[in-house]
């Protein structure tokens, strides 16, 4: 009984701390930015993990990210629409590519699927790189409109300029993504994904519509990743193919999810909230270039020494603490 309540209390407490600390500590732009981006990468990790729940290891989520970023940035650039419209619409570019994956990679599993996802990042990247007349080529898109301000009664949320406002926006985004992730684990749909992951043949013979569920997971995953990319374009103000289609973007959600614990509700989020601040606050000042080597090292060590990630390990720690 007590343990059951704890599993609810702990995330709530964490959410409360994440929501309230900026009120206490009013001027901490660096921390707003770092934890805002940690939330952002938390969403990216959740998005990646929804596809992973169906049993796939993707090495190419940068494709959705980049397409979402370019979708929104170009729409905003050519049509002058507000980012409030272009972000959700631009992300559709990522989702469309996701559906294409689902259809083309229908029969690929495991290693072969991983290779296919890795190679498929190159296609949109090279096309955008070379189609200069429309996409501005390798120079990238600059001067992308910042996120619009929002006025709620007397409260003004300057998402374009205030790092604190951005932090709250990204925290909300993470909370929503966390709920979606929870649904993907505990709903009946989630059980279908789990059954497919653990034994696809058995799942199919028990009536689980493997192809349809996998496509749904991929669609959700690619759209969420596209949303991240679109937001990224407006948060940063400039994008270029080498940046948004980089190996780093594909690797990051994988690292964070595997590190945090893939098959647990809060695993990917935990991974993001631990690793990203660690990287930005501790390593980045020491190694301005190359600090991202941390993520590579973390994958290697996690797979070797705790393939389930740290979450089960923390849980064990908690049990010890209580007894």
């Amino acid at each position: 009984m007590f343990r059951f309540r704890l599993s609810l209390v702990l995330p709530l407490a964490a959410a409360l701390v994440l929501a309230l600390w900026p009120l206490v500590w009013a001027e901490a732009d660096l921390y707003f930015q770092v934890f805002g981006m940690a939330c952002f990468y938390g969403v990216l990790a959740v998005a990646w993990n929804i596809y992973a729940l169906s049993g796939a290891i993707s090495l190419g989520h940068a494709a959705f990210f980049g397409l979402g970023a370019y979708g929104s940035a170009l729409m905003s650039c050519y049509l002058q629409w507000s980012p409030a419209v272009t972000v959700p619409l631009g992300a559709v570019a990522g989702a469309a590519y996701g559906v294409l994956w689902g259809l083309l990679f229908k029969n690929l599993r495991g290693v072969y699927l991983g290779l296919a996802t890795l190679a498929s990042v190159e296609i949109p990247k090279v096309i955008i790189d070379n189609w200069s007349s429309f996409t501005f080529g390798s120079l990238g898109v600059v001067g992308i409109a910042p996120l619009p301000d929002l006025r709620l009664g007397g409260l003004e949320l300057a998402f374009g300029t205030s790092l604190k406002a951005q932090y709250y926006l990204l925290l909300l985004f993470l909370a929503l993504a966390g709920l979606v992730h929870r649904y993907s684990l505990v709903s009946r749909w989630g059980w279908a994904l789990r059954a497919m992951r653990e034994n696809e043949t058995a799942a199919a013979m028990l009536g689980v519509e493997v192809f349809r569920h996998r496509l749904q997971a991929l669609l959700l995953s690619s759209y969420l990743t596209g949303l991240c990319g679109a937001l990224y374009a407006h948060l940063l103000g400039l994008i270029e193919p080498a940046l948004v289609f980089s190996l780093h973007i594909s690797a990051l959600p994988l690292v964070l999810s595997i590190f945090g614990g893939r098959f647990l509700t809060w695993g990917p989020i935990l991974g993001a909230l631990i690793l990203y601040p660690l990287d930005q606050l501790l390593l980045q000042p020491q190694f301005p270039t190359g600090h991202a080597a941390l993520y590579g090292l973390v994958i290697v060590l996690t797979i070797l020494f705790c393939p389930q990630g740290v979450a089960p390990w923390l849980r064990k720690l908690r049990q010890i603490a209580w007894n």
């Binding site: 059980w191 059954a195 653990e198 034994n199 058995a202 028990l206 519509e209 192809f211």
Partner: protein
């Protein structure tokens, strides 16, 4: 004639299958009637498992048709075949290893039929587990069960999809005599509840004991179909099992 066709549960018409030029099934035709236990016997490598794979949609037949209640299901995908009412327990159990026994069965309850599952699916799952002899092991992760319990789980999970036709692959392999007896009782009880069963086994005992009708398969061909007694007395069946097909042509070797 029409009335007789309607009572056919499963009909196989001229099924053939080759793997890389090796013919595994050659023009196999069979009729399983509604409400019977149909036994399929044959030595290892006779093609029984391939036939099951074709019925459940895991393998595509090169030629021929599979009809279920008169409907052509030949190239349907496995989930659709399951929804139509065919379930199968695999020879080598394939549980969801991280899920508990109960959760394994619940997957069958939830997804086995197109219609929404009954609200009491958990109670139903527990009952099925008890029925196959897994009471007390509901919360054990399936990957940690031993081989025999995994087989039992396989049967419970297949039953959870509420099938009309149940395929049981090598049901008695590796079981103790007591367990074989239990299995025989379970199979008969299921038939008495109105289920149709198609069972294979290369231990003859169980299949011959429970089946209403039996077909003997050897090297991808049906040798004979009939009552267990008839089939066993068939000379070619004997030679298929004894290996006397070879023995006949061999010279006597000095001991």
């Amino acid at each position: 004639m029409a009335a007789k066709a309607a009572s056919n549960c499963l009909e196989l018409r001229h099924i053939s299958k080759s793997f890389q030029e090796r013919r595994v099934l050659a023009d196999v035709s069979l009729v399983v009637r509604e409400g019977e236990i149909f036994g399929l016997i044959g030595p290892n490598g006779a093609g029984k498992t391939t036939l099951f794979n074709i019925i459940t949609g895991l393998v595509r037949a090169d030629e021929g048709q599979v009809l279920f209640h008169g409907q052509d299901i030949t190239h349907w995908p496995p989930p659709r075949i399951c929804h139509a009412g065919i379930a199968r327990a695999l020879q080598l159990p394939a549980p969801f290893p991280e899920m508990t026994g109960l959760e394994n069965v619940l997957i069958g309850c939830w997804f086995g039929k197109r219609q929404a599952a009954a609200p009491d699916s958990e109670a139903q799952a527990r009952e099925l587990l008890a029925r196959v002899g897994l009471q007390g092991k509901e919360e054990v992760p399936a990957g940690q069960l031993n081989l025999i319990d995994k087989r039992r789980l396989e049967v419970a999970r297949a039953l959870a999809t509420r099938p009309h036709l149940l395929l049981l692959d090598e049901i008695a392999a590796g079981l103790s005599p007591a367990a074989v007896k239990q299995t025989a009782e379970l199979v008969t009880a299921l038939r008495d509840q109105g289920l149709t069963l198609l069972v294979t086994d290369h231990y003859l005992n169980l299949t011959l004991q429970v089946s209403d009708r039996v077909a003997a398969l050897d090297q991808g061909e049906i040798i004979t179909v009939g009552s267990p007694r008839e089939v066993v007395r068939h000379p070619e069946v004997a030679s298929a099992y004894l290996g006397t097909r070879e023995a006949k042509t061999l010279p006597e070797a000095a001991p």
